[in-house]
């Protein structure tokens, strides 16, 4: 299935539109701040439109995952090809893009969150040009990660996203921005190294027949890596349930776990969030964290189904730790942003738990939770941003009684807070419930223990709600104004998505269902487990 515009594939458009925008921004004179902002908005909006077209044209019945034929909107070009007589043969890297039910929601989320991040960055005044140029570059990196089907290409996008993020936190962040930026950068880099090693091990283990020359060559093609027949019998990662396959899986896993972040690799997150400007927090929580779980789904599970099944219980266990530990840590925070950061740790634990269930409901729940957490937490960070812009403090105890002073703002807040609590009728409930329902079938007691998280979450969210919004307004905030039109433009669409998906989740579930089933079946079969349930 192909979809082109001006003879260029739609996924290329989606991925590189922001870079074009970045170039335009860089060509604008430095003083033209407004022009820079509007240019960025125009390009990210165009990206949203493309993502919308993609969503509409996406065939809900095609699985993708390990089958190249059912990947959609694919674009495949030979990118780097180095003929060599050395022992490793020809190096071939493809520009290979495509989406399936796993990546489609993420593409939509990335486009949406990027656009909203641009709107929420409107009041950035410090080196506007540089800021928006980096933001757009970041957008390309994120989008690329979600559409790349060649491991090497994936890795490049993965690293591309790192650099702008580093500068966006390190230059435009809060007082401890440099510490936070370096911590983020080094931590992610550590994961990248492990990922790189595993990628190379895979590369040298897998060969496919080159259609051009007819000889067997090594490849970075992810789908080729998922097929056990392509592994050279003598190679490091050949076979199933071998020592080196477990090692390689763990390397990949840790690489992605840092991004999720999974306990104990999560401490970069609160620091990065607290120091990052609002828009960057929104992107961080809204999209970046999903790259970790997406990596598990796209790479770790289908390439190492044997190891994935072997480590299923530990995976569910870290999910449980994330849920409970994150919730407890959130409860003790005094900084609004830090609290939301820890709630992310907790909510991403639900994604992990759902995936570890390795059945349809859990997998769908986990995948949908990725999307829902992206929208809900983005709202929460925007909500923090709104009062931080006005008061320059985030201390939970500095507020009170905002409900009366800022009624529209509070109305939106109620939607976001209760979505995070998992109230039925809002999107968070569907994904949480499915994750738990699925996980319960695989891990009975662990899921029961994890379910205590829903009480803890209600506890810290309502406590926060009370401290900030109920009670009486401190006199120093008498001058506060309600949300502006711009703030409504960024908050209301997210609120509508949260509400619509809560009432009619099929809109998103349909997209993911076929792929989720295929992934579950594939992993179970690959790991030597009878398919069913």
């Amino acid at each position: 299935m192909e979809q082109t515009f001006l003879n260029i594939g739609i996924l290329t458009w989606l991925t590189f539109l922001p870079v074009v925008g970045m170039i335009v921004v860089l060509l604008l004179p430095k003083e033209q701040k407004t022009a820079v902002r509007w240019t960025s908005l125009a390009f990210t909006l165009a990206q949203v439109v493309f993502a919308g077209i993609l969503f509409a044209k996406f065939d809900r019945n095609l699985a993708g995952v390990n089958s190249a034929e059912t990947m959609q909107f694919t674009e495949l070009f030979n990118w780097i090809s180095v003929k060599s007589t050395a022992w490793f043969g020809t190096i071939k890297i493809d520009y290979y893009l495509g989406v399936d039910g796993i990546s489609m929601p993420m593409v939509l989320l990335t486009a949406l969150i990027s656009c909203i991040a641009v709107i929420s960055s409107w009041n950035i005044e410090k080196s506007v040009k540089g800021y928006f140029a980096l933001l757009l570059l970041l957008d390309t990196g994120m989008m690329g990660v979600f559409v790349a089907l060649d491991f090497f290409l994936f890795y490049i996008f993965w690293e591309v996203m790192l650099l702008p993020m580093y500068f966006l936190i390190g230059v435009w962040g809060g007082p401890r921005r440099e510490y936070a930026a370096i911590k983020f950068f080094l931590y992610t880099l550590l994961g990248s190294v492990l990922l790189l090693l595993a990628m190379l091990a895979l590369y040298f283990s897998v060969t496919v027949v080159d259609p051009a020359s007819g000889e067997r060559i090594h490849t970075f093609n992810m789908m080729a890596m998922m097929n056990p027949a392509n592994y050279d019998p003598q190679s490091l990662l050949a076979g199933a349930h071998t020592y080196w396959r477990y090692v390689a899986y763990l390397a990949v896993f840790i690489g992605f776990a840092i991004k999720v972040p999974i306990f104990p690799f999560h401490t970069w997150l609160p620091d990065a969030h607290v120091e990052a400007p609002t828009a960057i927090s929104v992107i961080l929580a809204g999209v970046l964290l999903k790259m970790g779980t997406y990596g598990l789904l796209r790479i770790a599970f289908p390439i190492f189904p044997d190891a994935a099944l072997y480590y299923l219980y530990p995976l569910a266990f870290v999910g449980f730790i994330n849920i409970i530990y994150g919730a407890f840590c959130a409860m003790a925070q005094k900084d609004f942003k830090k609290l939301i950061a820890y709630s992310s740790v907790s909510h991403m634990g639900i994604v992990i738990l759902g995936m570890a269930a390795m059945n349809t409901q859990g997998m769908l729940g986990g995948m949908m939770q990725m999307f829902n957490h992206g929208t809900i937490t983005a709202m929460l960070f925007l909500i923090v941003g709104v009062i931080y812009d006005r008061t320059h403090t985030r201390g939970l105890d500095d507020f009170g009684g905002l409900m009366n002073k800022m009624p529209k703002y509070s109305g939106i807040m109620v939607v976001a807070f209760f979505a995070a609590i998992g109230l039925p009728g809002l999107s968070g409930f569907i994904s949480e419930a499915f994750s738990f329902l699925g996980a319960f079938q695989t891990f009975r007691w662990l899921t029961v223990a994890s379910a205590f998280g829903i009480v803890l979450t209600a506890g810290y969210m309502l406590w926060t709600l009370q401290r900030v919004f109920l009670g009486t307004l401190p006199e120093k905030w008498n001058g506060l104004t309600d949300v502006t039109g711009r703030e409504l433009v960024m908050l209301v669409p997210l609120g509508i998505i949260v509400l619509v998906l809560g009432v009619y989740p099929n809109l998103m579930l349909d997209v993911m269902n076929t792929s989720a089933n295929a992934l579950v079946d594939f992993v179970k079969a690959g790991g030597g487990m009878a398919v069913g349930n």
Binding site: P424, A433, V455, G471
Partner: protein, 685 residues
Amino acid sequence: MRPELTIALAVLLLPLASFTLLIFTGRRYSERSGLVGTAFLGIDLLLALYLLAAKVPSDLKVWDHTFTWIDFHTAVNGVPLKIDIGIMVDDLTAVMLVVVTLISFLVHLFSLAYMKGDVRFSRYYANLGIFTFSMLGIVLTNNYLLMYVFWELVGLSSYLLIGHWYEKKSAADASKKAFLVNRVGDLGFFIGIMIVWMQFSTLTFDGIFGQIAGGKVPFDSNAWLTAAGMLIFCGAVGKSAQFPLHVWLPDAMEGPTPVSALIHAATMVAAGVYLTARTFPMLTADALLVIAYVGAVTAFIAATIALVQNDIKKILAYSTVSQLGYMVMGLGVGAYTAGVFHLVTHAAFKAGLFLASGSVIHAMHHALHHQHDHHTDAQDIRHMGGLKGKMPVTFWTMLIFTLAISGVPLTSGFMSKDEILAGTLAFSHFTGHTLIPVIGFLVAGLTAFYMFRMLIVVFLGSHPDAHRAEHLHESPKVMTVPLMVLAALSFFAFYSFNPLNASHGWFMENVTPPAVAVPAAAAATATETFVEEVHHQHSLAMLLSVGVAGLGILAAFVFYHWRKVSADAVMNAAKPVHTFLYNKWFFDELYHATAVAATLGTARALAWFDAVIVDGIVNGAGAVTKGFSTVSGKFDSIVVDGIVNLTATVAGFLGMLLRTVQTGRVQTYIVFALIGLMALLALYI
């Protein structure tokens, strides 16, 4: 879908429409928003009445409509995996629809005057709308998924309404407490749903009970069936304020009084009883026994606390908890119809009691306001007295409600309470658990006593402040009419034409126990045998209940009206008991010292662990790396580079030495050459 079900959907959605309209445009309507909401509910009530009238004579037991909400496009053991949801109307549902819409309508009406001039008048009406919608959803659903959805939505609306005056810390605290305590119960409910979903792959009542009746029990064990039933019942423990999760309901009285009437007396708290009734077919004998004891213990604890409270709403709140315990106990002993019947009769007279107390509080507020008195508590019964002459309608209706709750013949409460008590006697006959009927009759007596205590102290005697008494007036029509309607509904005639026995009335004839699905080995006494035994025990139960109620009423008059015995003297004589009861058995203190403290303590400890240990390791790794690089930098600059430099220095030194030799003068070189030559000659010759 049957046309009647379309009407049922309309009944469900009208209050939601009211909410949506008022939440977005309510501020523009201001005072008129109350009329808008009331109009919506009025239509809703008419539709519900029509449904009831159509359903009861209908030959079909259930009208339902099920559709597939989510299809997972996969199969488990050959059975397609999908989630079916839908709505159903049976006689119980039809009755409940009328109960909910009627009380909601009356509360809407009552609030027009009671909430007049409130800061968030339209928001209040919007929230009443979403509450009614959620409550109707609970009643209409035919599956546990939608049940849980509406269950939580009811929790949300309760949160919003309890915290209506959120500027007050106590109100904000109470709303939070209500939501969290309910969440604890809902956790159990959710775990129960997970078991059911895993084992039966369906969440519809019919589907689950059908499979159980077909011989399938969770994990092939009757114990798990008991566990599943009890876990689902956990939801009821939360929502119906049963021991040990009853602590939120009295605090919920921070909400406006009409809200207490609607949510915390008549409908929402009855949802737990309704859930238990719907789950009835899958409850094993063990589960039912636990449920019966939970209900009995709740009824007893709450009744003892209600004896000594002075806040008019607190007394009513504890009496609600106690009566809910009664209903749960009724279901637990197997008296299904009696438990549900008490739910319905209680809804009318308890809503009436709350609205009447609202009327009293309203009058007290006005009088205190006139006196510019902002310290006297308008809800403390010790500040009332002699209101009978000032507020005749409120008094007479309140008297009827009090008679009904005390179980005096000719009232609805007498009939339903009687059925429950007969059920407990039958239960003890079959199982030997005599404690249940003992508690049942004891609580009946206590109820009559504390309710008449309240009535006497508030309405009889004389008012403590003569000046204030002059400003006390009866409430306006819009408030008294709902009281009169509810008072009428507290008479027997609406439920059965025989005032002494309701079993041939339309309610008990139509709302019959569902077929039990539990395997025979785990099931309680068969329904037919049980019903027969209830008939045997009926006369005894009636005599005993009238007797204890009479005693309770008599005692109340002796203590508080005729003052033959000083209540204060008794109180002082039993000071520790009074303190214990007045402080509600210290449940709040206990929970604060254990569950709350443990949670907050763990949170603080883990946050410390996270910041100091986990992050410490990360920063430590950074510091170690940095330290290592400093050392290696030093090594590089001192040792490695030192060796390089040393080599250079040595070479330089040698060079310097040699340089002194290199004078450039031929004479010196000749001298050196001669010395060398001589040295060689000396060596070799």
